[in-house]
Symmetry: C2
Subunit: 327 residues, 2 copies
Amino acid sequence: MAKPILSCMHCQNPPYITIRHHRQRLCRKHYIRWFQDKTDRTTQKYGMFDHKARILVAVSGGKDSLALWDALLRRGFAAEGLFIDLGIGAADGFSARSLAAIRLFLEKEHPAAPLHVVSLRESCGATLPELARGEARGRKKPCALCGLIKRHIMNEFPLKNGFTALATGHTLDDEAAILLRNVIHWECGYLGRQGPVLEESPGFIRRVKPFVRFFENEIAAYVRARNIVPVTLECPWSAKASTNRYKQLLARHEEEAPGASLHFYQQFLDARAGGRVVFPAQKAQQLAPCCSCGTPTNTGDSCAYCRMLERRAARGRRTARSDTPDP
Amino acid sequence: MAKPILSCMHCQNPPYITIRHHRQRLCRKHYIRWFQDKTDRTTQKYGMFDHKARILVAVSGGKDSLALWDALLRRGFAAEGLFIDLGIGAADGFSARSLAAIRLFLEKEHPAAPLHVVSLRESCGATLPELARGEARGRKKPCALCGLIKRHIMNEFPLKNGFTALATGHTLDDEAAILLRNVIHWECGYLGRQGPVLEESPGFIRRVKPFVRFFENEIAAYVRARNIVPVTLECPWSAKASTNRYKQLLARHEEEAPGASLHFYQQFLDARAGGRVVFPAQKAQQLAPCCSCGTPTNTGDSCAYCRMLERRAARGRRTARSDTPDP
C-alpha cells in the first residue's frame, strides 16, 4: 500500500520540515512563520526588547546572525547590523567573504537596513592576525584575543551610538555547550550570570540572545527556506575553539537522549530562577573607568583591550628606535 | 643509544606503574603502599572514620569493593563485609560467582574477616529477577528495583548490627558520572548531598566512599598488584545502567582533557564547601518510620521497599485463591 503523503499541518502544501520535539510538520511558508513567531515569543518571554527599542545585531555573515537579523527586520524591529572586520585572510579570505555575504543579503532582502562596519585595521591599525603575532599568548590560536576585541567593540559601539541592546545569534547548542563548560569547571561567576539576557549596568550595554531556544539545525532550515546565503568559509581557527569540544559531547548525548540539551539549559534557568541553585555574588569587583577608553575595568588603570593596544604601540616605538642608525 | 631504564622512585625495583597526574613511578611494593596511604589520607581528609569505628564494607565481588575491603583490613581497620545475594543467574551465574570470588579472596588474604551474607531468597522469599518479573516497572531492566533493595538492606543491616558506617567502593569515575547526570538534569536535591560522606541521621546509617579520589584504572592496578581475583562476570544488566552513558561521555572528554573528571568533581566539592554554589534545602520532607520495618519514609505508611514486598504478597494470595478449585 502506498504510504500516505502528509501535508503541512496548516495547509495543503507539501511539508518542508518536521520538528519532532515540537510535533510540528510544516511547509516552507508556515515554517518561516513558526520560526519568526517563536523568535517573537522568546523576546517576550525573557523581556528582551519591544518595538520602541533600537537594536544592534552583531552580524558575522554566518547563518545564525543573518537569520536573527532577518527575523527581527521581518517582524518590524528597528535592528541595525554591526560587522567587525577582523582582517582574517587575504582579499578573498574569511573576513572579506563574510562582509560580501552580508552585503548580498542586504541587497536582496533589506536594502534599507543600516550596516555598521568597524575595521580593526582602521581602529587598531592592524588586523587580528597581525595583533596576535605581537602578543605572547595567542600566536597560534588567536581566539582569546579575538574574543577580547569583539567583546570590547560590541560593547563600546552600541553604547556610544545610543542603542538599547546588543543582540547576538547564540543558539541553544551554543548556550548548552557554554553551560556544560562552565559546569565542568564550576565557573560559578559565569553560572550566576549566563542566560538569555545580560542586563545593562553602568558602562555595559544590555545583551540579549533571541535564538536561545533554537537548535542550530532549525536555524539552518530557516536560512534555506528564506534563500539566505551565509558565508561558506569557516574561520580558520574555529575548529580549535574549546566550545566545539563541549558541543560534540552534547551532540553525542543527544543521540541517546534527544532534546537533552534543551532540557539541560531550561532546567538550569528554572532551577536558578526558582532558587533551587544559587550562585552567591562574590565580593563585588571594584570597577573604575579605563583611563583610555572609559570602559569599566578592575585593573585600576587601562582595560585589557587598551593595554593590548598600548603594548603594540610600545613595540612599534622600539622597532622605530632600533631602526635609527647610531650617531 | 639505549634508552635508560628508569626504576621505582623509592627503590631500585623495576617500575610497575606510572601515574602521570600524580607524577609517580612506582614498583609493585611501593604502589601498594602508595595506594593504601592514599586511602588513609582520603578517609582522614573527609573525616570518614578512625580506628575505633566498626565499618561495614558493601562487597559485590568486583574489583572496587574487594580492593576497598583489602586496603582497610591491611591498615588495621575493623572492617566487616556485607554481600547481598540477589540471586541473579543460575548456580554458576553472576551472584554465585560473585560470592565465590569473595570467599576465595577471604580464604587467601583475610581468613578471619567476617562476611555477612543477606540472601534475597531468604529475606524476601524471591530472587531479584523473580521480584522484577512481578513489578510493573523494571521487568526488562531491574536496575531501579535492585537499587531500592540494595539501599534498603545496606541501611537496615548496619543499623541493626551496630556498625558506625557503611563504606562503598564508589570510584572517582562513578562519582563524576553521577555528578554529571545530576547536573545535566539539575537534580538540586542530590547536588546538595552528593559527596564522599553522607552523614548519619535518625534511621539512616553514615555512608562513606574512601575511593572517591581513585580512578578505576588505579584500582585495577592495585587489584593486580595484590593478586586479588575479582569476579569476571558482569551483571547481565550493567550495560544498560544510565550511569554508563555519563561515564562514556566523561571518558571521551578525558581523552582530550586528561584529569578533567578529577577537576570536575573536586571543583564541585570546593565550590559547594566555599559557598560559591548553594543548593538551598527544599522544604524538609516529613519523614515518619515505616509501619513495617521502621525505616524513615515520606509515604506516611510503608516504605517503598516494604510496599514492594506487600505487592508481592498480595499477588501470592491472589494466585493462591485462583488455584483453589471452585466449590
